[in-house]
């Protein structure tokens, strides 16, 4: 179908253009797949959040009861508190570390290519697998090291301590998230025209001064993008937590994603759908923020 003959090519000249059916045939599979796999589940989720469904069998509408219950559920509130707090801390840790590393990796260093390749490597390691590796380090090696050095608070596993287990999750999440953040910062730093630095050097600005007065302000857009992308990703944290604490001790490190996924096993399907719906609107808010920011610097 839709063989475009040479004579049809001249249609470009005429005002009412016809789109070849082939173009629709190219786009349609993607639209259908996307609608079935993404849009339909999103609508279903919102629909079921107003019912008392347990995932199968009969159900009826119960209005906003699920939502009201959510806001007075200490487990859910705890999950939101933990996830948002953990995400904020991780965003700060990841961005400070990645920014400094990116500056190092763009300066006049020996073995630049190899070093960059090495720093990006953690990005390609499966989150749950590396979490199990760190789990061993935190629960076996670190306590042994701590008792050898006489650091009492760390002699017991970090992961078994309800007040400190989140630190372990921040460390492993940062380990995996720093590489892509570094890459975005490297792009930002390399986009600064070198004559800006030359002018600053002529004016006698020190290295630290150049960093603070040129590099940081001129990469502000990239910092903003990294903060938003990072925050959004950390809000979804799941597999690293499974590998480290599985939400414990108690529920001290249960993330929002974890509480939603438990909706099937715990039989509170529609309830967790309401949870997911709220999370959905948080995600949309962050997406809109991200769009505003990226559109602001789309010309770069």
């Amino acid at each position: 179908m839709a063989v475009v003959t040479p004579s049809q090519v001249s249609r470009k000249v005429h005002k009412p253009q016809r789109v070849g059916a082939t173009y629709y045939a190219f786009l349609l599979p993607v639209l259908v797949l996307f609608s079935l796999a993404i849009t339909l589940p999103a609508i279903m989720g919102i629909f079921y959040s107003f019912t008392n469904s347990v995932g199968f069998g009969d159900y009826y509408f119960i209005g906003v009861i699920n939502y009201i219950a959510l806001f007075s559920d200490p487990t859910i509130l705890g999950a939101y508190g933990f996830t948002i707090g953990f995400s904020l801390v991780t965003v700060a840790v990841v961005n400070v570390a990645a920014f400094l590393l990116a500056i190092g990796l763009t300066s006049r260093i020996r073995g630049k290519v190899a070093l960059r390749a090495l720093y990006v490597l953690p990005m390609v390691v499966s989150g749950i697998v590396i979490a199990y590796v760190f789990n061993f380090l935190f629960s076996n090696s670190l306590p042994e090291l701590a008792s050898a050095l006489g650091i009492a608070p760390l002699e017991k596993s970090l992961l078994a301590n309800p007040d400190l287990a989140w630190v372990a999750i921040v460390i492993v999440t940062a380990w995996q998230a720093i590489p892509s953040t570094i890459l975005i910062y490297i792009a930002g730093i390399l986009a600064i025209p070198s004559d800006v630095y030359e002018a600053a050097a002529l004016d006698g600005a020190s290295g630290a001064r150049q960093l603070w007065s040129i590099t940081v302000p001129l990469t502000a857009g990239y910092i903003l993008i990294n903060v938003i992308i990072g925050f959004k990703n950390f809000l979804n944290s799941y597999d690293i937590i499974v590998g480290l604490t599985n939400g414990g001790p108690g529920t001290s490190t249960t993330s929002i994603a974890m509480s939603i996924f438990n909706g099937f096993t715990n039989g509170d399907y529609s309830y967790q759908m309401a949870n997911a719906t709220i999370f959905f609107f948080i995600a949309i808010a962050i997406a809109l923020l991200q769009l505003r920011v990226t559109r602001g610097k789309a010309s770069v």
Binding site: V4, F34, I38, I109, L118, Y119, L121, V129, S213, A287
Partner: protein, 303 residues
């Protein structure tokens, strides 16, 4: 909304201090051949953070069970033993789970490249039409929708359609890659001059022929980036297979690590051998494709 971020250079007032050699001068080229050694050394020291977990994985995997339980993660294997691999291989039925992981990844990579190249071609060549433009934004929404929001409904749907298996996982992997991939392809296609296609059409080629014979080969570098990201996302994914695939015997490698966690118990050499076999393929792919991985991250975030 164009005024959020000013990229104009700020005034750089002058403290009259001499320019210091170890400045954070980012635009360093090798002119002058003077390397910044303090920064190089600091960066080398920091690589320990990357290397230690990988070193521990490697050495633990080659220890005997007796040596692995002594808790000293940093010692070298003595004696050197492949016992962990032998046990992990049979315990997790590695050949089968490896084949399933590869199968899911291959379907995901091929499906992502073809479907998103199709869509991006149609969209970029009909950008002046509302239907195609809106389709683009519609697909882009997937970048922003987190999986947890959709998970329970997707589990329900895949169950109904008898796709609660690796095929269903691969299909979902494709859909979650579509937004990012269509974005990359569309940006790239806009840079290909349409005159090329015009001349092919004058020679009588159909739209499909133009795509397969002209456009798709030109897309090769972008297909590499898209394909590598689809592979890494699919190979390393834990959440989707763990929720979607109902039969534990059909699970991918990352999920198996969780399923066998209790059975590994204190046989750390077995568990680390298993971890190593699960992470090695992605690391090997990365070693050969670093260039695409690095450029893909930047393009995906900034375009």
């Amino acid at each position: 909304m164009t005024s959020q971020i000013s990229l104009a250079p700020p005034s750089t007032g002058g403290e009259r201090t001499p320019v210091n050699g170890d400045s954070a001068h980012p635009r360093a080229r090798t002119r002058g051949e003077r390397f910044n050694w303090p920064v190089t050394i600091a960066l080398l020291v920091c690589t320990l953070a990357v290397l230690i977990p990988l070193y521990v994985t490697l050495t633990m995997a080659f220890k005997t069970t007796a040596q692995a339980v002594d808790g000293n993660a940093f010692s070298l294997p003595a004696p050197f033993s492949v016992d962990g691999f032998v046990q992990a291989w049979t315990l997790t039925d590695f050949p089968r789970s490896f084949a399933i992981s590869i199968g899911v990844s291959v379907i995901s990579v091929v499906g992502t490249i073809i479907l998103s190249a199709f869509a991006a071609f149609a969209i970029s060549r009909n950008w002046n039409r509302r239907f195609f433009r809106w389709s683009f934004y519609y697909l882009l929404a997937a970048i922003f929708l987190p999986f947890p929001v959709l998970a329970l409904s997707q589990v329900k749907l895949t169950g109904l359609l008898h796709l609660d298996n690796p095929i269903g996982v691969a299909i979902l992997h494709i859909t979650f890659q579509l937004g990012f991939s269509v974005l990359l392809f569309t940006a790239f296609l806009r840079s290909i001059p349409e005159e090329l296609e015009e001349s092919a059409r004058l020679d009588g080629a159909s739209t499909a022929q133009v795509f397969w014979q002209l456009i798709f080969p030109l897309l090769a570098p972008m297909s590499a980036t898209v394909g590598i990201f689809a592979f890494l996302a699919s190979w390393n994914d834990f959440v989707m297979p763990s929720l979607i695939t109902s039969n534990p015997a059909l699970q991918t490698l990352p999920v198996l690590q969780q399923i066998f966690q209790t059975q590994f118990s204190n046989n750390y050499n077995v568990s680390f051998a298993s971890y190593l076999m699960a992470m090695a393929p992605a690391i090997i792919v990365y070693l050969f494709t670093q260039r695409w991985v690095m450029s893909g991250v930047t393009q995906g975030a900034i375009k």
